[in-house]
């Protein structure tokens, strides 16, 4: 299926303004697994007739991993160029598919001259359900399934968003179960702070293995995340325990898209 996703440039040329810019992110654009999450989000937005657009080829890394890695120059280059593009299109509202983009755009761009209303995709989807624009089909997709939510650090502790993804999971016909470490006590998947792009330092265990043990203990059938990097780490962790047949790792957007039969 080809998704018709307009770019900001196309919208502008047609004299239109979208209600929200969908900031896809690098993982969402290039990583094969994360692209599926991107499509789920785009399908939900399209289905709900949200007037949205993407930057397409004009999008560039927010600079998050550069700043966390200590390279402020690369971060500033990325941030200032992105802000020029965003301000050029007079963007007011942004939804992101990644908590790292979300955090950077929401918290770190304003003092550089880029102030927008920034939402994580779980927040926007929750809003679509609350306002009746999206209804889930009670098709028993997740009947009897235990679903746990792994809090991405940059969504949870970094920005205090704990409820929106949980409300979405609770709107499904499955059961939300919590891991022993959740919300403010949630354990990192091991990818943040630019760790995604390097080997871990010497230790006696990988962080994603430690976290996957929490998942196994929760006896969940599905691990839901809201971050493409957490998704990678948890998928690897589940594979490490040879549990990929029993435990699925899915983004909350994918769960909702499935439940809405999109």
């Amino acid at each position: 299926m080809n998704l018709k996703v307009p770019t900001m440039a196309e919208m502008m040329a047609a004299g239109e303004t979208p209600d929200v810019l969908f900031w896809v992110g690098c993982a969402g654009s290039f990583d094969d697994r994360a692209k599926k999450i991107t499509k789920a989000i785009a399908k939900i937005l399209t289905h709900c007739k949200v007037k949205f657009a993407v930057l397409g080829t004009e999008e560039s890394c927010t600079g998050d991993p550069a700043r966390r890695a200590g390279n402020e120059f690369t971060f500033q280059m990325q941030a200032q160029m992105n802000i020029q593009v965003l301000n050029g299109y007079e963007v007011k509202r942004i939804v992101t598919g990644c908590p790292h983009c979300f955090n950077t755009l929401k918290n770190e761009y304003p003092e550089l001259g880029g102030s927008y209303e920034v939402l994580h995709h779980t927040q926007l989807i929750q809003d679509l359900i609350n306002t009746g624009k999206l209804s889930l089909i009670d098709g028993g997709t997740f009947k009897g399934k235990k679903i746990t939510f792994h809090d991405p650090c940059y969504l949870g502790r970094a920005n205090d968003v704990y409820q929106a993804p949980r409300d979405l999971i609770e709107s499904l016909d499955g059961e939300l179960v919590e891991m022993k470490r959740c919300k403010t006590n949630g354990l990192c998947c091991g990818a943040g702070g630019a760790q995604m792009f390097k080997e871990a330092e010497k230790g006696n265990k990988e962080i994603n293995i430690e976290r996957t043990e929490d998942v196994l203990e929760s006896e969940a059938d599905i691990v839901a995340t809201g971050c493409p990097f957490c998704n990678t780490m948890m998928t690897d962790g589940v594979k490490n325990f040879n549990k990929e047949a029993e435990i699925q790792v899915l983004d909350v957007a994918e769960l909702i898209a499935q439940a809405a039969d999109l």
Binding site: C26, S29, V54, A66, G70, E72, L112, A158, E201, G203
Partner: protein, 434 residues
């Protein structure tokens, strides 16, 4: 009369030494770079009331929270008795408030202090056990080896001595009063301890001596403790309050902006900038990031002195839990140790040593996932992550010491706007794929 004089000299000398030491610490903290933490006064007061006075974050772990709360309340209420001890010392009276005609209210206050003191005594023994017998992991890990472990036990010993001495005084006074008038003061605990320990003594002078030993012992311990504070993790009983007041009130995910880099990049990107323009008036160029304590902000240095080494940060750290070298607690202890080294060394900054390298190694820094668990956990709102990031910034921007894989990631971002080697032209490909 001699006792009177000894008291006054002791009090003045110990307060003077403490003030001198405290002023050195304040001077050390002021070595830090400026950061604005004086805005949003209302939010700051609220944070301080909740986190420091209310100890909100302690209650994530209920058992130590309750034990610690007993200490805290006992410490505050005991100040009333301490005021009396001081008045008695200065005026040469004994139990000034009692003789001031406070009557049953006096008995009530002293009784409350006694009950809290007994609870504190028990809590102290439990704390001893948690550290030395039950060996709770965050109190036995290697980052506490050496002085830190002794410091913790010494504080507990001081607490016990303080309590033993005050009960000695109260009990001897009870026995004395019962001997005189058949009725004691009726203090909640020492009305029983008095007859128990001193009931057999019929010599009034001897009772007075015991009472005096209690009074002097308690007083000397107060002075010892006061002057021990600046060298100890116990300084948190004072610094927790300013430290929470000056908390970071932004979202935890927001890293501080480096204005110098922002300005430089702005110039680079500005097509109308004059490349031949004279450089702005020469200020001594600041280091990018932090190599040593004076490159950190004063708040980060205040953080270091506020740390009580409880280890909640380290026990929550994903890197530490999986055997990596990083311990956020050690980051704070190292920062304090380095800062007090400079203070002890007459503020000589160029001693050939630095926080990065001599105290903290790059391996520790590169283990951090920036997950904010340490920041979340800290009961007094210390931010170890910001120090880790500033040290990383120095490594990367001043010394180009970047882990090889990260060099690739950074190059990709600079070349093609993504951490991986993909062409920006392919950013829309996901729309065409199934």
């Amino acid at each position: 009369m001699i006792a009177h004089l000894v008291f006054v000299i002791l009090a003045l000398v110990s307060i003077a030494i403490f003030s001198w030491k405290l002023s050195s610490i304040v001077k050390q903290i002021k070595l830090g770079r400026p950061t604005n933490r004086t805005d949003r006064v209302g939010d700051r007061i609220k944070t301080m009331l909740l986190v420091a006075f209310g100890q909100k974050k302690m209650f994530n772990r209920p058992i130590p929270a309750i034990l610690h709360f007993i200490f805290y309340v006992a410490f505050i209420i005991t100040q009333i008795e301490l005021i009396e001890v001081f008045i008695d010392g200065f005026t040469g009276s004994h139990r000034f408030f009692y003789h001031a005609g406070l009557g049953s209210f006096y008995t009530f206050v002293i009784s409350s202090i006694e009950v809290l003191s007994v609870l504190t005594f028990i809590a102290t023994l439990i704390f001893f056990a948690r550290r030395n017998l039950i060996k709770i992991p965050r109190f036995t890990s290697s980052d506490l080896n050496g002085w830190a472990r002794n410091d913790a036990n010494l504080i507990l010993l001081f607490e016990l001595l303080l309590i033993i001495f005050i009960f000695m005084m109260n009990s001897a006074d009870e026995a004395d009063k019962i001997m005189h008038s058949n009725v004691g003061y009726g203090f909640a605990v020492s009305q029983y301890l008095g007859p128990l320990f001193f009931g057999q003594i019929t010599n009034m002078e001897l009772l007075h001596i015991f009472s005096s030993i209690g009074w002097w012992g308690h007083l000397v311990m107060v002075f010892v403790f006061l002057n021990y504070l600046p060298y100890s993790k116990h300084l948190h009983i004072l610094f927790a309050f300013p430290n929470t007041y000056f908390s970071n009130l932004n979202a935890k995910g927001k890293f501080n902006n480096m204005e110098s880099v922002e300005a430089e990049v702005k110039l680079m990107l500005d097509p109308s900038a004059d490349p031949y323009a004279a450089a702005p008036a020469a200020e001594a160029p600041q280091r990018f990031g932090a190599k040593d304590v004076q490159d950190l902000s004063w708040k980060q240095l205040l953080d270091a002195y506020s740390c009580t080494e409880c280890g909640r940060c380290t026990s929550a750290c994903p890197a530490n839990q999986t055997g990596k070298l990083l311990s956020p607690r050690k980051i704070m202890m190292d920062t304090r140790d380095r800062l007090s080294e400079i203070g002890a060394n007459n503020f000589e900054l160029n001693d050939g040593k630095s926080l990065l390298g001599d105290y903290i190694t790059p391996e520790e820094l590169w283990a951090c996932t920036s997950c904010n668990a340490c920041v979340q956990e800290c009961p007094v709102n210390i931010d170890p992550l910001s120090i880790i990031v500033d040290l990383r910034r120095y490594l990367v921007m001043e010394e180009s010491k970047v882990p090889t894989e990260l060099t690739g990631m950074l190059t990709n971002i600079e070349n093609n706007g993504a951490p991986w080697q993909f062409s920006p032209a392919d950013r829309m490909k996901w729309t065409e794929e199934n």
